[in-house]
Symmetry: C2
Subunit: 399 residues, 2 copies
Amino acid sequence: MNDNDPTTTRSRELPPLSRFLAESTWAARRGDRDIMDFMLASPQEMPLPGVTAALKYWSDPLTKDWFGYKGSEEPARELSARTLHERTGVPFKPDDIAMTNGAFGALALAFRLIGQPGAEVIVNTPAWSFYEPLLLAAGLTPVKAPVDATTLDIDVAGVLAAVGAATRAVIINSPNNPTGRIYTTATLRRLANAIGEAARCNGRPIYIVSDEVFARLTFDGARPSSPAEVYANTLVVYSWGKQLMAPGQRIGYLALHPEMPDLEALRDALFAAQLAGGFNVPSALMQHALPDLDPLTIDLEHLQRKRDRLVSTLGSIGYDVRSPEGAVYLLPRAPIADDMTFAGLLADRDLFVLPGSLFDYPGHFRLSLTASDDMIERSLPHFEAALRETGADQAAIAS
Amino acid sequence: MNDNDPTTTRSRELPPLSRFLAESTWAARRGDRDIMDFMLASPQEMPLPGVTAALKYWSDPLTKDWFGYKGSEEPARELSARTLHERTGVPFKPDDIAMTNGAFGALALAFRLIGQPGAEVIVNTPAWSFYEPLLLAAGLTPVKAPVDATTLDIDVAGVLAAVGAATRAVIINSPNNPTGRIYTTATLRRLANAIGEAARCNGRPIYIVSDEVFARLTFDGARPSSPAEVYANTLVVYSWGKQLMAPGQRIGYLALHPEMPDLEALRDALFAAQLAGGFNVPSALMQHALPDLDPLTIDLEHLQRKRDRLVSTLGSIGYDVRSPEGAVYLLPRAPIADDMTFAGLLADRDLFVLPGSLFDYPGHFRLSLTASDDMIERSLPHFEAALRETGADQAAIAS
């Protein structure tokens, strides 16, 4: 550490994704109706009317402290415990739930809670780009374990190989961003058995931090399993940001498994950690409104139609793309190995995608299905032309 | 560090204030209309109608990304820079302002930005109870410098004596919680000169983190100076929570002084630090509504009448209490040395105050002026009876 370094910001640099976004022409064009924006899971359609209605309704104060200091309010905790119980079959308790500033807040809280400086946390890659900066900010070291290259399923042997004496947790994200995979109960059980055994050898727990923000965003009626169903040392992260497609009105939670051996100590530490982390608690209004917000979800049938349209058309054009089971992304193979260059080719056509190199998956690119129908239709000829531009369509024909 | 410690929560314990609140009978009685609640600066009257009106009005989306991902939005930054410029005369720039999850968020961001693990930050005591856990969470060590016992003014020589090679910042809070003092420009200039000189000796900056959440809550029309007026290495913390008496609808900011030598490096680190801290950004709705919220303030004339009623009546009863210049608290001397016991005596009468021992000011207790007129009137006979109970009134007469 250089004490004379005036900035001390080196470890606080923007992660590669943020830097890419800031430097891309997308930054200036964002919101322009002429572009085709597949970059992030940002709303490209007007908000759900129910969100506005709920915000207005619950803005009318019923008590003096309506907008007063809020912790994790009892009704919001009860709703969270009940819906999580219904979804997983695990009887989560309201007292073991912290309402947070969305999933970022829940993850920051989880890492603060279970982390010790120097401890390691295993991340299955490709992965959401912000696990790494959140872990680093908590003083933890991310250790990457690639998923199976063919199935995109968790590579249990690979995870186990990454476990060491310093391993404190494994992050599981199902439905997965960016792969769209939903892990089966059998896979989760194999993982749970493996890391449970490793934890016994280590003589200390290895937690699963289960990021379930896409739990309700699945295709073909799929119902994802939660690691909580097979592993007691699980902390569940949820956020309504994706379900409502309103990530700027942040509300989420961190839930501690009711059979977790260290439940009481972790529960007792929740609120202090939320305060010390910068009052990591959702707004009073979002907590009040939660009963009206929770039943709302973006139109899944529409999302599925967008998935199907893109998967079938990109496939017929010549792209190698699999159909995701959940979450809101496609992850086609780039027609040339250099996905940064290919993303640049598309950007020149006002078509914005995320190169896979930014999340440990080079040679691929990610499309967000939150793009509008109009953007999708306008994009198809450009995807075809860009493929021709690379010459990869000829190679495909020749092979 | 005991690697087998299952909780790792020792450094994340509730600060003494939170523990006191949780263990006090107040926890169960909070919100009960029969109690006299002087405990926290929590709303004891219905919210300002303008807050509700603004939330409703701005809940109507005008764009597709109305509730989409928000950083520090340009209009909110511009308003913050403009109002801070107007108040201090220092031309703060929108780009140098991060919109945060209230003052907790702004402080957490400031400490993350300027801190290096092991560095020290000087806190003038008595002080707000949460500087310490926020500093500890950021890996920083709080160093206490008591204010002048007679004037409650900053003890510049004491601050200077507390400065060492590891000193990274001094926290200034004016108007002060809990003392109610507003530091003069002359005092701030003396402090600035002293720590500026110390920083030159150290060969690295010492920042002032200026917590100005009470800047607009003053009595007799007082206009507090900001350290930013006399010291370039100042980071200003503001929150609308107190001004609007709506601390559950969190919005605030951290502003970097435009003449700060390391401005660019710190500015570039703001957003990454906000994300890595758990998406420490106010809700979309609060940022949209800010132009309508900023002109609102709780009724200062009413607050002043409450101050005057309590100061004069407590004084005539026999309490030693000075009249605060700003913020929303009284800080009388407890009639017996043991302020915890005295707070217990009052709590037995359903009259809840905060003992000074919780914020390094034993022998005193804090009253929040956010209590309602009705609570205040009902409390007066109890304050008198509790004083008689201690026998301190007889001692006062005898002396």
